[in-house]
Amino acid sequence: MREQQYYLGIDVGSVSTNLVLIDDSEQIVDKIYLRTEGQPINALRNGLKDMASRVGEGIKIKGVGTTGSGRQLASVIVGADCVKNEITAHAVAAQKLIPDVRTILEIGGQDSKIIILRNGVVYDFAMNTVCAAGTGSFLDRQASRLSIPISEFGQYALRAKSTVRIAGRCAVFAESDMIHKQQTGHSLEDIINGLCEALVRNYLNNLAKGKDIQDVVVFQGGVAANVGIVAAFERALNKKIVIPKYFDVMGAYGAALLAREKMQKEGGNTNFYGFNITENEYKAKSIECQGCSNSCEVIEILSNNSVLARWGDKCGKWSEQISHAVNV
């Protein structure tokens, strides 16, 4: 019997770092959802360590894909075969689980996206540009301010009895408005529900403006766990919202699928360094190049005192010095 082959997908985001292991038939074998806590390298190492202890270090990894805002960093540390932006990764993952999806709503830690698909192709997308008011880290902050575990935040919204309108345009103003409503005696449930509605309103008015939202609508990203937001979306769109089974690790799943596609198409061996990279020390350093008036911020990743990668320079003066250059 042929040895089972696996593909690893890694999504290093602002709030969470996710790992997904799929087998050759694209089924998810293992998934890990970790908080990044501002230390992506640590999160990555812990994630890999956990995964190795669960599935065994000896399994055969055929390819690795990375995505998310920390995709370059992750690709250098683990040795990735495919580095993709999170929009493409999310779209690929959603299409795999729900083939007739036409709209993807995705709300992550610090960004939110809407992806429109037609005939199985990404047709249009938008990603929040100016403000992070409607995203996971804001909800996180509010939950901890109110001393409610984030996992129960949505339940509170569902128990609301009356509507409270919260200004959702800006995170700072939303927070002042919530405090104001709190001080005037509104119940916590009503306020939380008001906040969910404000976020959904903000999302639909900014991101989804002018976009034709058609069934099937899929909602993914960490915030999809919040039943209050889901309910608010269903009310605002008057549509059924589908939450995929692996909603919280869709980016990583997409990265794994993309890595599999690439390796199958191009063949060759994976760049993966193996699970034992967790024993190495990694440091990131940033330098401002003084070579010209561009003053590029160059990021340097060091492992055991040798330079693994550099990026961020426009001219290639720094990144071209080492073999493992990352194209940004």
Partner: protein
């Protein structure tokens, strides 16, 4: 007198040639960078658009290198840019930089206003040229225009070569060499030769003739689309990713169409206005009508996608942005809008561009499979 001027993409080349020819002493400010923006952001009103901030930064950096006089264009154009030289003069004065401002303003308005405008313009030119040598001035003006035109041609040639080059980085090397050499080349004759030399080198780059790059049209506000430092080098980056770009709004276009033909009331090239008509029938300021018209022209020309770039709070482009979805729908061409200000995070910006290119690539594949433009919304 030591003059300086704001950066705007390759504008420093024709201006440098002109000042060399006129024999005027000058300082070229450092290329627009983060510290220019930081300086500008510190002194300009927060809601002013990005070009004002960066140009103020340019002037301060030039002042530190000894400049005492600024050449700036103005104009009663229907966008706040026309008033920037006044703003800059006041701001620099307030923060204690003693610099003179020579504003080259296009004479506008009724007969009386026009005469006053021409007189003011003439005074500026006289000061710059150090006297009334009409022959010298006219020659310099003609050469500046020619060099500007040749520069834009060189740039658009690089847009075509870069995505097709066999060895990545060849085009960038050649353009870098040009940048280094142009500073040690004096006068329009020498610079013309340097442009020719660079053009020849670009044409000799080994290219992959079978490669069919994605074609993306760049539209939007003139400053943020032309100035590479401001647009985060989008044109070069797209080229490095194997995408051919085209940007119809150019400096020489602005000089020839707007200043020369506009000033002399000659018929202008208005293809964009014709194309924009079903969506935006009037000039509403800035380059909004160009944005709309050129987008339609790109769509008709079979381009794969359009990227609109503008500085935050740019009113004309905000209007254009709200019209673009109709063009997207009518022609089935995807549009990505990028808004730039001092808060722009480079990483997030590149994520969007990367995803946009994935989208264009997939769309092209699916069109090829299905044989027809199934995605067009018609």
């Amino acid at each position: 007198m030591k003059v300086t001027f704001p950066h705007l993409g390759n504008l420093y080349v024709p201006i440098k040639a002109m000042l060399d020819d006129l024999g005027t002493d000058y300082v070229v400010p450092p290329f627009s960078n983060k510290s220019a923006l930081e300086l500008g952001t510190k002194y300009a009103p927060e809601l002013a658009c990005l070009p004002l901030k960066i140009t103020i930064g340019n002037f301060i950096q030039a002042y530190e290198k000894g400049a005492d006089t600024i050449i700036m264009v103005g104009g009663c154009g229907p966008c706040r840019f026309g008033y920037y030289y006044e703003m800059q003069r006041e701001i620099l004065h307030d923060i204690g930089y003693k610099m003179d401002m020579i504003a080259l303003d296009i004479p506008w308005g009724n007969y009386k206003e026009k005469v006053a405008g021409i007189r003011k313009l003439a005074e500026g030119v006289k000061k710059l040229a150090g006297g009334w040598n009409i022959n010298k001035i006219l020659k310099a003006a003609v050469n500046t225009t020619i060099i500007s035109k040749r520069m834009d041609e060189l740039e658009s040639l690089s847009f075509k070569v870069r995505p097709r080059e066999k060895k990545r980085g060849t085009t960038n090397e050649i353009m870098k060499e040009f940048r280094n050499k142009v500073f040690s080349t004096k006068g329009s004759a020498g610079i013309k030769k340097l442009i020719e030399y660079t053009e020849k080198k670009l044409l000799e780059v080994e290219i992959d003739n079978n490669y069919k790059p994605l074609r993306v049209g760049i539209v939007g506000e003139i400053y943020t689309t032309i100035d590479t430092g401001t647009s985060l080098n989008i044109q070069e980056r797209l080229g490095d990713m194997g995408v051919e770009v085209c940007r119809p709004v150019t400096i020489s276009g602005w000089i020839i169409e707007h200043i020369i033909k506009g000033g002399l009331h000659l018929p202008r090239d208005l293809r964009f206005a014709e194309a924009a008509k079903p969506y935006l029938g009037a000039m509403i300021g800035g380059h909004a009508q160009e944005t709309i018209g050129n987008s339609v022209l790109f769509a008709k020309d079979g381009y794969d996608g359009i990227i609109q770039i503008y500085p935050l709070t740019c009113m004309p482009e905000i209007v254009a942005e709200s019209i673009l979805p109709s063009i997207e729908r009518d022609y089935g061409i995807p549009v990505l809008t990028l808004i730039i200000d001092e808060m722009t995070g480079e990483a997030g910006y590149l994520t969007r561009v990367e995803a946009f290119l994935d989208l264009l690539e997939k769309r092209r594949e699916s069109k090829a499979i299905e044989g027809t433009t199934v995605l067009s919304g018609n």
